[in-house]
């Protein structure tokens, strides 16, 4: 569904991504693993159109993404839930959600609203509360729910478990499986290596702007090198 090849991108004169190839098939969860500052968020931003790549091609369902605006990419069916809970703090939970449905799937707003409330029951109880007063975990759920309002075929989650307590992290991964079970493909950027590999079908490991490993999640879990590099075991 998403095909990336030879993508190089960066900021100004600094190249962060040194040529990456990636593919995501419809309905699968792909984990993108790597330590801090290696270019995970940069790759997300290239896919969602915030950063123009210097080289390489990206296509989504056969449509080239290069040169497209973020708004058009959302309209094609890619929703990006950015790093760091970017919600609208002074708007209510309901208002936050409805802002997710303007670009795409506006007609199914009611249905999606119900669907998201079913996935995140905690949000339903707080629909009129201003989003800034939600707990960190609830804010993250809201950000994901808002992304789902556009009925994406591919959902990009950038560190959804960041800053959550172990119990919330557990819940977050359950929710990710639940969302995926509805047929949404997910690109999951994470620091929680083991949990990500447990829910993902395939994974890519990135180091300094290059993929150094890729394959079935089950194979990577038992990979000695990976365990040493990321888990110290």
């Amino acid at each position: 569904m998403l095909e990336i090849s030879g993508v190089r991108a960066g900021y100004g004169s600094m190249t962060v991504l040194q040529g990456v190839d990636m593919s995501i098939k419809a309905g699968e969860i792909v984990a993108l693993l790597g330590s801090n500052g290696v270019g995970k968020t940069t790759l997300n931003n290239v896919i969602s159109g915030f950063i123009r790549p210097n080289a390489g091609t990206l296509t989504f369902k056969g449509v080239p993404l290069t040169g497209k605006k973020p708004a058009d990419i959302v309209a094609l069916g890619i929703a990006h839930v950015p790093e760091g809970r970017k919600i609208f703090p002074n708007l209510s939970v309901a208002e936050n959600l409805s802002l997710g449905a303007f670009r795409r799937a506006g007609a199914n707003r009611k249905q999606n609203f119900e669907r998201i409330c079913a996935i995140f029951p905690k949000l339903r109880q707080r629909l009129n509360q201003s989003a800034g007063t939600l707990s960190g975990g609830e804010q993250q759920m809201l950000a994901i729910g808002r992304g789902l309002m556009s009925e994406p075929e591919l959902l990009i989650l950038d560190e959804p478990s960041l800053g959550l307590s172990p119990i919330m992290v557990e819940e977050m991964f359950n929710l990710i499986t639940k969302i995926n079970a509805e047929g949404v493909a997910i690109l999951l950027v994470e620091q929680n290596v083991m949990q990500s590999l447990a829910v993902a079908g395939r994974a890519y490991v990135i180091e300094q702007g290059r993929f150094v490993m890729e394959g079935a999640a089950a194979d990577l879990i038992s990979d000695k090198q990976l365990r040493q590099a990321y888990l110290g075991m």
């Binding site: 708004a71 970017k86 209510s92 409805s98 802002l99």
Partner: protein
């Protein structure tokens, strides 16, 4: 026209409406004259409210829009003998274009926050200096419209008719503001104010929305400028583009409640009442009203971050209704 949240807001609005209607019965030329001025400023405040209130794009140079509306209309009428109504429409259009242009330029280069305030301020100053220097703007002596009372010239001999005309315009601009507030455009604009990165991630073309907001704000601001011209039949560079205009534009919404429909109008009326009261009490010391405005502004920012409307909203809130997709 607006979803009321509390008894406090209801009372506040009723008081304002009672005052505005009361002006008809007091039949005091002083009150009438003062309120007429306040209504024109209210239109300017509603202009600032579109960008500064909904979009969080605080401009410090709204005079550039106001002045452009006034000068466009004045030049067309004085130099080219164009009908006042046509000149009014042209003034609005030109101000909208200037607003859009400034927005396009500033936002193209990612200008934000206080830098945006400075850019708008700079534009207003440049326009002021140009208006004072060129011949076609009347240079230092300004432009004077011919006195020719009549609806077709937008000049009203009868103050009551003039007052009704301005009141109708304020109501119209408030209705447009309410429409913006509950439209998709308004929702996008609020999203930009709340978190621009998040708005972009949701697929909102934030650049376009901000430029559009500047153009709409320009239309309202230009209208205010034209109204001033039609009332006084005279403008010069500092009346049109002076920084006091820019200050008046933002102070009403901030005190009344930015990003609301009533706030800019309530704030402007309240402020002018205070200013007028102080003037009569302290025998017309020039510039005094601005000192007073500054004090009120500081108090407002400190004690009522959401303005009068926000403050009143905390008095006797109505039970919250379950609204699923607000």
């Amino acid at each position: 026209m607006m979803k009321l949240n509390s008894t406090g807001q209801l009372v506040l609005i009723l008081v304002a409406v009672a005052y505005l209607l009361g002006v008809y019965f007091i039949s005091s030329p002083v009150w009438m004259g003062f309120t007429i001025n306040a209504l024109i400023v209210a239109v300017l405040a509603l202009s600032w409210n579109v960008t500064g209130g909904f979009g969080g794009l605080s401009s410090f140079g709204h005079a550039v829009l106001y002045g452009t509306g006034a000068y466009t209309s004045a030049i067309l009428q004085v130099t080219y003998g164009v009908n006042a109504w046509v000149a009014l429409v042209a003034g609005i259009a030109m101000a909208a274009a200037v607003g859009g242009f400034i927005g396009a330029l500033a936002f193209r280069y990612g200008v934000k926050g206080s830098y945006f305030a400075l850019v708008t301020l700079a534009f207003a100053e440049v326009f002021r200096i140009c208006a004072a220097s060129f011949d076609f703007t009347g240079g230092g002596s300004g432009l004077q419209l011919k006195l020719a009372p009549g609806i077709s010239n937008i000049q009203f001999a009868d103050r009551t008719v003039l007052y009704t005309f301005l009141l109708a315009i304020v109501v119209l601009v408030m209705l447009l503001t309410a429409w913006i507030k509950y439209s998709r455009f308004g929702a996008y604009l609020v999203a930009v104010r709340e978190n621009e990165d998040a708005a972009r991630a949701l697929g909102i073309d934030t650049y376009r929305i901000k430029v559009l907001a500047m153009a709409v704000s320009g239309a309202f601001g230009g209208l205010a400028g034209v109204l001033y011209l039609q009332l006084w039949l005279f403008i010069d560079s500092s009346i049109a583009y002076g920084s006091s205009v820019s200050i008046e534009a933002l102070i009403g919404p901030i005190i009344g409640g930015a990003g609301t429909v009533w706030g800019p109008v309530l704030g402007t009326l309240g402020l002018h009442l205070i200013g007028e009261g102080a003037k009569t009490l302290l025998s017309n010391a020039p510039g005094l009203n601005f000192v007073l405005y500054a004090v009120v502004l500081i108090c407002a920012l400190r004690f009522m971050p959401n303005g009068l409307v926000g403050l009143a909203g905390r008095i006797g809130p109505f039970a919250k209704k379950e609204s699923k997709d607000a």
